[in-house]
């Protein structure tokens, strides 16, 4: 099932336009990848596909995978079904960072990534550090205070963001569009920067997946079964918030994927994270890529924000599953 998704999704973003040439171009694209030949100047279509469509498809896969994985991790670490990648304030930190860049017109491009993305990433990281600082005492992180600190810091940052928005002029539109999330601005440098970070974090999380099962028990029991819970919680929080920060700064705040994909997979496949986590990653990647396709073709020439589509498609599907599952769904 998941494989089918991936295949269809990979085709999807290219398929949308240039129906006829798409096959040829796909081959060419892979040829380039393999042989590393310099870009042939020529067909405009080729250029568009290589420089716009491809990074876009890659990025939606990366971001979808990252958000679903960190949602899954956070739900387990916080033992809270409402947890999503943004619970500890990553999104609002990133948003504020982006807003500052947009409004002040900063230009601090970093590794070829736009200044908006760079400042968003910095904002996200600073927020995470502040929240961790607030929630830790004696070298241990209390999960409850982390949750609370995250929510409160988020609210505070949102307030600051609102003030900035009040005083902003034409930048407001840019900012709002960024906040809703999307992939239209994604180019290759984004991919080359984000891919190694996200992929390596995901591998770490997957290798530690079995610990997540034990984290679902009480703290005490997890320790009795040989989990160094304080270390594990720290590792998972760092990995989860880091990939979220990367994802958010690349694509803005795309909601819903991180919250609902883990739940959908849990209903379908059960709570064992060794299965749940990889399947959530695949499903998140598939869903987001698919939604991005829909966002672009739904009402041309306007591109809808992809976050809207994820909610529009994801919510009914989730409710359908929840309803179909006769047994009570216990978290």
């Amino acid at each position: 099932m998941v494989l089918a998704w991936i295949i269809s999704v990979r085709i999807g973003p290219l398929h949308t336009s240039y129906m006829d040439i798409f096959h040829v171009l796909l081959k060419k694209a892979f040829l380039w990848l393999n042989w590393d030949t310099p870009l042939k100047v020529g067909e405009a279509k080729e250029y568009v596909i290589w420089n716009f469509r491809f990074p876009r498809a890659f990025m939606s896969i990366l971001v979808g995978a990252a958000l679903a994985a960190s949602g899954c991790v956070f739900q387990a670490v916080f033992k809270n079904p409402l947890a999503d990648p943004y619970v500890i304030g990553v999104s609002s930190g990133a948003a504020l960072g982006a807003a500052i860049a947009i409004i002040l017109g900063l230009n601090i491009a970093f590794l070829g990534v736009s200044s908006i993305a760079s400042t968003a990433f910095i904002g996200a990281l600073v927020t995470i550090l502040v929240v961790y600082r607030l929630a830790s005492a004696e070298g241990r992180i209390s999960v409850t205070s982390l949750l609370l600190a995250g929510v409160i810091v988020s609210i505070f940052l949102s307030a600051v963001l609102s003030i900035l928005m009040v005083f902003s002029g034409w930048e407001l539109h840019v900012l709002i569009f960024w906040l809703m999330g999307g992939f239209s601005h994604v180019r290759w440098p984004y991919i080359t920067t984000a891919t190694p970070i996200i992929i390596s974090c995901l591998i770490c999380i997957l290798l530690l997946a079995r610990n997540l099962n034990l984290l679902l028990l009480s703290e005490e029991e997890a320790q009795y079964l040989g989990v160094d819970i304080f270390k594990m919680v720290k590792i998972f929080l760092v990995l989860g918030s880091f990939i979220t920060a990367v994802a958010v700064s690349c694509s803005g705040c795309i909601g819903f994927v991180g919250l609902v994909v883990p739940h959908i997979m849990r209903i379908l496949l059960g709570p064992d994270h060794r299965i749940l986590l990889p399947s959530s990653i695949l499903a998140g990647a598939s869903l987001l890529t698919f939604c991005d396709v829909v966002a672009r073709i739904a009402c041309p020439p306007i591109e809808l924000p992809v976050g809207v589509i994820t909610a529009l498609i994801g919510a009914p599907f989730f409710l359908y599953l929840l309803h179909r599952k006769r047994e009570v769904y216990t978290f």
Partner: protein, 419 residues
């Protein structure tokens, strides 16, 4: 061989001292029970032994290694813990829960051997039929046994259990205790369990640790720890401690209702009870419980009523076993009777050895004391004196003794006489 050494351990929760100068050793293969009232530090001690609570002073050694240095994984290979409460929110399958016990031993996915160990653990606590059920769909007792299976699947050398028999039916309580005993004896497992049930503790443990307010108040073999004095000092409850005539193990029963203070005499009326052969037990308990001042006599020392009277702290005139009442004791008894306001005659068998007690009742009547006789029908009177006892009882009745249909009514009558 010494397995665990706990030396001079002090533990704190924030600034509150939870454990104070705890020192003891546990041998390999021993079954040690920890008893003590709520909040005495039993669970804290277990947390300390399992290494998740680090002592501020002192140390815990397992096989000579300091617990606070070992990693969680290393600890989990050696020590299995069954906590008081277990939280499993997600709907994991029971088998998966038991397999979590293999966590410290495996890297990623379980092997066939891990499955075998899990199933053996489930068989040991008889939950193998639940393997495919969801953990959220089993009863509290089953869940508890599943958690014990999970701890066994860790293949530990030491098992720590916090009230393992709570929520279990009596048959499962005994099954679990038998299992733990067997694991100690056959596999050399060292078991330390917090127990609430003194009788189970006395039946299965090699030694006991009694705790109060974070300190050890008694330690050693069961009979040395479970004395009525220790229990009263620690729990504030009077218990009768005896060896059970059938099982030969200690058995403990709480004495009376309440905490013992309620049994101080509060009523003015003094009652003397004539009983024997177990006929006075209920009457004594009720009268003492109601706050009457009570005397009993004459009783043979081996009589169960004598034991009851002793345990209740009632003054008794006693006679040597199997001996008829001597004049000396008879006089003593009469003295007591004369000091009483009411004489209560229980529904008891009469023989030549205790006939004197009835004669004493007759004299009491002459002296104007109220007599209450428990005997629903004259035909039921157990008279082994060829009619002499019956005759005396008849005379008592004719001269105005009150007849109570049963023991309950007798207590009611005594109560009404108080007014």
């Amino acid at each position: 061989m010494v397995k665990i050494i706990i030396k001079n351990v002090e533990c704190y929760y924030n600034s509150i001292k939870a454990l104070d100068s705890i020192t003891f050793e546990v041998d390999e293969g021993d079954f040690v029970g920890i008893v003590g009232p709520n909040g005495s530090g039993k669970t804290t001690l277990l947390r300390c032994l399992s290494g998740i609570l680090k002592p501020k002073v002192g140390y815990v050694l397992i096989d000579g290694e300091d617990v606070s240095i070992l990693s969680r994984r290393e600890m989990a290979k050696r020590v299995g813990v069954v906590p008081q409460e277990s939280y499993i929110g997600f709907n994991f399958k029971v088998l998966d829960v038991v397999l979590m016990g293999r966590h410290p031993h495996i890297r990623r996915f379980e092997s066939k051997r891990d499955l075998e160990i899990a199933f053996r653990a489930m068989e040991a606590v008889k939950v193998q039929h639940l393997a495919d059920r969801f953990i959220t769909n089993v009863s509290g007792g089953e869940r508890r046994r599943i958690i014990i299976a999970r701890a066994l699947a860790q293949e530990p050398e030491i098992l720590l259990l916090d009230e393992p028999t709570v929520h279990l039916d009596i048959n499962h309580q005994i099954e679990i205790m038998e299992l733990l005993r067997k694991l100690c004896d056959k596999q050399g497992l060292t078991v330390i369990a917090v127990l609430h049930d003194f009788n189970l503790a006395a039946r299965y443990c090699d030694s006991l640790v009694m705790m109060n307010r974070g300190r050890i108040v008694a330690i050693g073999p069961c009979e040395k720890v479970l004395t009525s004095q220790n229990i009263e000092e620690t729990f504030g409850v009077k218990m009768i401690v005896n060896r059970h005539p059938v099982t030969g193990f200690l058995y403990l029963v709480p004495l009376l209702r309440g905490d013992g203070n309620e049994n101080k005499p509060t009523k003015k009326l003094k009652v003397h009870l004539i009983c024997g052969g177990g006929s006075g037990g209920y009457l004594m308990r009720e009268l003492v419980g109601e706050g009457f001042r009570l005397t009993v006599g004459v009783l043979n020392v081996i009589d169960s009523d004598y034991e009851t009277a002793k345990a209740l702290g009632v003054s008794v005139v006693c006679e040597a076993p199997f001996s008829p009442i001597t004049d000396e004791n008879h006089q003593e008894n009469l003295k007591m009777i004369m000091a009483a306001d009411i004489v209560l005659v229980a529904d008891m068998p009469f023989g030549y050895m205790n006939l004197k007690n009835l004669e004493a009742a007759l004299e009491a009547q002459k002296a104007g004391k109220r007599i209450v006789i428990v005997a629903d029908q004259p035909s039921r009177i157990r008279d082994y004196t060829g009619g002499k006892a019956k005759a005396i009882l008849e005379r008592l009745k004719e001269q105005g003794a009150i007849i109570a249909k049963n023991e309950k009514e007798a207590i009611k009558i005594v109560k009404s006489l108080e007014k």
